[in-house]
């Protein structure tokens, strides 16, 4: 029984170490091709534009709709509490700060992890199953440069843009509810929002979104490269990619929020 248990732990640990080794190699190679490699051999501009469209432009509707809904929900929940103490005007503070510092970056990242992170895994996984990755290697094309770098750059450029869009949409939604349903004056709501949100809140959210972009891309492509066998493995890895990304996004958010609480 003990031998069986030890064997199981050893097998599990061996797989975890191999996995970690592969992830470290991926990070190392991606860092090289993003920096030195890009200067030496250039960037595939066509692929970058394609990925920017897929990751950024095509995500605009879903990010805007969800951010709008979240802004409305936040305004209504804030009003529910603030009405009791007659401080309805602070709905603007609560909505704008919550969105700029936390919900904007995190919700956008979770939506993009579900959309694009899953797509990265499925694309690379399917290419692996169809021997397309092997074909790239035998043609002397580096899969990291060819597949990962355009995705990584697109994510780094587009996730902060989507976060800004989510921030703006969520705040507008809070204002719409404040004016239409809670009887607040539009000008007062606008002024109160400007007073509440400082530039550092927006910038802090964008810094978070950059770290989320790294998490989504690296987890997505790493899980894609781990696909083995056939369609079942693609499905399993895609699920794992979304779950791992969301878990790491929340963990990173927790870390950044704790840091900002300690140092401000």
């Amino acid at each position: 029984m003990v031998r069986y248990l030890l064997g199981y732990i050893g097998h599990w640990a061996g797989k975890a170490v191999a996995n970690l080794h592969q992830a470290a190699r991926l990070i190392n190679q991606t860092a090289y091709w993003l920096t030195i490699g890009s200067f030496k051999k250039g960037v595939r501009v066509g692929s970058l534009i394609h990925e920017m469209t897929a990751v950024g432009f095509n995500s605009i509707p879903i990010v805007a709709v969800i951010a709008f809904c979240i802004g409305m929900i936040l305004a209504l929940q804030a009003a529910y509490q603030l009405r009791r103490i007659g401080a309805m005007v602070y709905v603007a503070d609560l909505v704008s700060l919550s969105i700029a510092r936390e919900l904007g970056p995190m919700l956008t990242a979770i939506i993009v992890a579900g959309r694009s992170g899953a797509a990265f895994t499925a694309e690379i996984g399917s290419m692996k199953v169809a021997e397309e990755i092997d074909a790239l290697v035998t043609m002397g094309l580096n899969p990291i440069k060819f597949l990962v770098v355009p995705k990584f750059m697109a994510m780094l450029l587009m996730l902060p843009c989507l976060t800004l869009l989510a921030d703006l949409t969520g705040m507008v939604a809070g204002g719409v509810i404040g004016v239409a349903s809670l009887g607040l004056d539009a000008g007062v709501y606008y002024q109160q929002t400007l007073r509440a949100v400082a530039m550092k809140d927006i910038v802090g959210g964008l810094v978070k979104s950059l770290s989320f972009a790294c998490i989504i891309t690296l987890v997505g492509v790493h899980q894609g490269f781990l696909v083995e066998g056939g369609a079942t493995s693609v499905g399993e890895r895609t699920t794992s990619s979304v779950v791992t990304s969301i878990f790491l996004i929340i963990l990173a958010d927790c870390f950044f929020t704790t840091l900002s609480y300690i140092f401000t």
């Binding site: 290419m127 169809a130 021997e131 397309e132 092997d134 074909a135 290697v137 035998t138 043609m139 002397g140 094309l141 580096n142």
Partner: protein
């Protein structure tokens, strides 16, 4: 009992030489000391039953797998020990047609064929287009340049994959199960194409397959593998006359004794 290599060519002129290759997948030994030579302008067929290690041999010869021990010498350089830049030099002179053709589904046929030229040469767009068209024409797919891979039949995909494999004018061309999944007429057409390529470009061609009609039609020399070992190395006539039981069983298409026996199944699995 094995048939040893009997070719008369000078070993020093071999385009590729594999020496005592041992490859493991985890604890399973897939190749157990494989040695062979591929000479310039010859078609070498690597023959063997499913799971005998021939695809593993191909992947190791392509530098996609690292062997446990042994060497794969290309132009006297052991590719198992080369760094990425040195390996790139070898890869630019090597073409591969994968079993599934491995065309990039998001690109047209012309884009697939021109990809290596765009990435590895400084040629202008017009020249690359002309060169791609020539290669596409050579495999009989003129007029299909703007088609997506999903719009082509299995045989046409293989031809397109072949056009991409020869786009850089390789000195060595690998085929992994070229006839798999094709009807006999399409497979025969592909065999003719392989012979035409050898005649036109004088390249060394390595074909991994278990399709006997195809083997007898195209092979200059045959290497037969079983359980991770080379058990035969000779010409078509020699394999037809071979008295090695496993070779005879393969040539005469005799079934295994009792396919449902667990020990035989596990043994086959262990062989890879």
């Amino acid at each position: 009992m094995t048939h040893l290599p009997n070719h008369n060519q000078d070993p020093s002129i071999a385009a590729i030489e594999v020496r005592d290759l041992v490859v493991h997948y985890g604890p399973r030994k897939i190749l157990d000391g494989v040695s062979l030579r591929v000479f310039p302008a010859e078609i070498l067929v690597v023959l063997g039953g499913s799971g005998c290690g021939k695809s593993t041999l191909l992947r190791t010869m392509l530098g996609l797998l690292r062997p446990t021990s042994g060497q794969v010498l290309v132009k006297s350089k052991d590719i198992t020990r080369l760094n990425d830049d040195e390996l790139l030099e070898i890869r630019l002179k090597t073409g591969v047609l994968f079993q599934s053709a491995a065309l990039f589904n998001s690109m047209t046929i012309e884009e697939n064929v021109s990809l290596p030229l765009r990435e590895h040469t400084a040629l202008n767009d017009a020249t690359i287009k002309i060169m791609s068209k020539i290669k596409i024409g050579l495999v009989g797919l003129s007029g299909y340049e703007d088609f997506m891979p999903s719009q082509l039949s299995g045989g046409m995909k293989k031809r397109a994959g072949l056009a991409r494999a020869i786009s850089m004018d390789p000195e060595v061309l690998f085929f992994d199960e070229p006839s798999a999944g094709l009807d006999p007429i399409t497979a025969a057409g592909l065999d003719d194409l392989i012979l035409k390529l050898k005649k036109t470009f004088k390249m060394s061609i390595i074909v991994v397959t278990h399709e006997l009609p195809s083997v007898f039609k195209i092979a200059d020399r045959i290497v037969m593998m079983d359980k991770g070992l080379v058990i035969f190395d000779g010409t078509v006539e020699e394999i037809k006359a071979s008295s090695i039981p496993r070779v005879r069983q393969f040539i005469e298409r005799e079934p295994e004794g009792d396919a449902s026996r667990t020990d035989q199944f596990l043994e086959a699995l262990n062989c890879g």
